[in-house]
Chain length 446, copies 2
């Protein structure tokens, strides 16, 4: 990749060596996204120092590009006026993104620092949930009346010195500001200038309502290869537009969320946050895990007598629990993805349950055979091998069924399956794994 | 969201009810991405039937939009000529994407079905790795000489009836086809027509080399809010361009990959693939897991005598192993994300190790206290509580250290940390958890 100013990879070393002159020089030419990346690589204590070397006109964009956790932390360290000055030059949708993360006492100041028009516009964008089309939109639409000719549109554009970023389409509206068509800019360049604009509007326009969820917006942008799309109200009046750069951020944040949630983490976690803060953030997850682990231990505790008679059970039971957990997690992952991509619906859910249960049975038999062999050879005890094998089959089938049912249930009760699915599943496979090994052994062997 | 033709949610029900007339009618107006979604929701056996109702001119795009696993499967079912006819109308980069997934015997036929120019272009794109900038690029650049005026550029564009999709920039080249500038289309509309084109080229152009990795391309598009960007060779000659729609696919596939890999799954897995195929795909993962579980069991096996004397150890040891695994997975997840986002580098790695170890110590003490209390009360044995507490601290610190070191090591030996990190980590925390509980107990209690 080639760019006028490459990313700043050596920021940590430069600051460690106190080479601030070079930092200032690098920051002077760097893209705000690269400066933000550099700041994130620093420990929190060094960030305010580095901040002072960022060019004034980049500071706002840098704040906008920062990870949420890093932004919140830095915002607390910075001078109030400086922070507000940096933010107020941003686009409406960018300011709207940052405002909820500002320290409480600064909120009012920030709103009064911007001019009246911006404040009104901000009020509009902030009135929608952050994760809705309304919260994502910007208000910088380029709009013309739908009955004019392409030549007149061209003339109108020529009067502006520049168009808003990512203007790939001009919106056509009627007398009441209702959206009647979307005119791609390239048709303006290639089509006959005397044609009415509406004649060259796109055939299958996509528009969003303010309260559409950002996930639906992201899917539509990806499926229909959109660069920008209009947001309209109930009367189909044009309110604003969503652009692909913000949608790319949504897609990346969602991916981040899914990966972090599976480990009980929040996507905005700052990798260099103080030890106590990190420890606190992770405590809830470990507490939940302790409770589920205790449940498994309680099951084992019911069979202490059996274990004392046959210690091999204590040796082999973790294998059955672990295999069930792994097989079940595979099913769970496939089902959660299918649900979030829309591949799984009411109509085909039963097919999936049947299929995954069958996979569980098949894998159960394969691994039951292997583990039976290992157990029988290890302890010279064929009956023990058979008990472990039966427990393995039971737990793999249970893992498959739980892998399908748990995310469906969690979604019904409005709990994020990406967050709670894994813990719930391993609780089931631990309990069933221990119980089937110890219970069967108690019945058959002792 | 509003669009001319909404997604087809009820495809499963319609085909079950044999209502093919309505399927045909829905497909006739639907966007290819929506038809592809509908096909993915069907079991493999129903897909060839649904295929016959797709309008001829959408079939190629539908194939392109399908999940890789579903495409491969369907390609085997379809008539050879029909498949080739559908594919050959696609863009070069789209054909290049599909070709590696075609059934072997069709490869040559597909290459000969397209015209000579397309074949040569295909050869060019296919000569680069699929996950490189060269493999991502399309060849439909709109190029003009850099010394002409904006008016001449406008005139040149007017001679074409349409521009390639997502043409937000015109590329300026010199006499030797070397890229000298990137001219945004909107400046063409707003700036003085008699100015030379090069005067209005962007100030900080980003371009890619053929062999740049697709992850770097994706990060650059996201960071610099690009819609399209040029690909050049060593002499800076323009080869093609990459557009945001393909980059969005890369970002989504990467997210998919990371989530699926953590459960040992491949991102292209078809949710309705036959039971035997699914079972086979998942076998390797379960085999790896069995080996690691056996390692844990082997450690337990070394202390059979201790367990027989104090069965409480068998009851409590899974808690210590599980808490270490969970805490370690949190560290692991944060480190893997930091590495893939570039936040973690050689310069700050030691800081992270120190910090995570401290979090491990702090969390270790907190949960050691809790578990000591539980163990002491459960078994009326304070010494047992102290042993479990010490083991808990040891395992949480070990989990934190392993969470930092494992991904760094895996990356060094070129193994995907997203794939192998979790298994490696829980192996460590299981072994250390069992060993510290049983070893300490044997030393102190027995």
């Amino acid at each position: 990749m080639q760019q006028a100013t490459p990313p700043i990879h050596n920021i940590v070393e430069l600051l460690d060596a106190n080479n601030v002159a070079e930092v200032a020089e690098l920051f002077a030419d760097a893209h705000p996204a690269d400066i933000a990346d550099a700041l994130e690589r620093l420990t929190p204590i060094k960030r305010p120092l580095a901040w002072t070397y960022i060019p004034e006109d980049s500071k706002g964009e840098v704040l906008y590009e920062l990870n949420e956790g890093v932004f919140k932390d830095l915002a607390h360290e910075l001078d109030k006026q400086e922070l507000i000055d940096a933010i107020k030059v941003l686009d409406i949708d960018e300011i709207a993104d940052l405002i909820p993360d500002l320290p409480e006492p600064l909120l009012a100041d920030a709103l009064f620092a911007v001019d009246t028009e911006t404040r009104n516009n901000l009020g509009e964008v902030l009135s929608y949930p952050e994760d809705s089309a309304g919260g994502l939109m910007n208000l910088d639409t380029t709009t013309v009346r739908d009955n004019i000719s392409l030549d007149v549109v061209l003339h109108f554009l020529r009067l502006k010195t520049e168009l808003p970023e990512h203007t790939d389409t001009i919106y056509l509206v009627d007398r009441e500001q209702r959206l009647t068509g979307i005119l791609p800019v390239d048709r303006l360049l290639t089509q006959n200038g005397s044609d009415p604009a509406i004649k060259h509007a796109v055939e299958t326009p996509v528009s969003f309502r303010c309260l559409d969820g950002e996930q639906d917006v992201a899917k539509a942008f990806a499926d229909y290869d959109l660069i920008s799309a209009p947001v309209v109200d109930e009367q189909h009046k044009l309110l604003g537009r969503i652009t692909i750069d913000d949608v790319v951020d949504v897609i990346r944040e969602q991916a981040e969320h899914d990966i972090m949630a599976a480990a009980g983490l929040r996507e905005e976690e700052d990798i260099f946050a103080p030890v106590t803060k990190t420890s606190r953030n992770r405590t809830v997850w470990l507490a939940v895990n302790l409770v589920t682990a205790l449940l498994g231990s309680w099951v084992i505790g019911q069979f202490e007598g059996s274990i004392q008679q046959l210690v091999a059970l204590a040796v082999l039971m973790p294998i059955v629990a672990s295999m069930g957990g792994n097989a079940g997690t595979q099913t769970l992952t496939v089902v959660i993805r299918g649900m979030s991509l829309g591949t799984i619906s009411r109509g085909n859910m039963l097919n999936i349950l049947k299929k995954e249960a069958m996979v569980g049975v098949l894998n159960g038999f394969i691994w039951a055979f292997v583990i039976a062999l290992i157990a029988a050879l290890w302890y010279q005890n064929i009956q023990l091998g058979i008990v472990i094998a039966a427990a393995m089959i039971a737990n793999l089938v249970m893992g498959a069924i739980a892998g399908v049912c748990i995310p469906i249930f969690l979604e019904k009760v409005n709990i994020d399956p990406a967050l709670a699915g894994g813990v719930a599943l391993t609780t089931v496979t631990d309990v069933v794994g221990y119980f089937s090994v110890l219970g069967l052994a108690t019945l058959v062997l002792l």
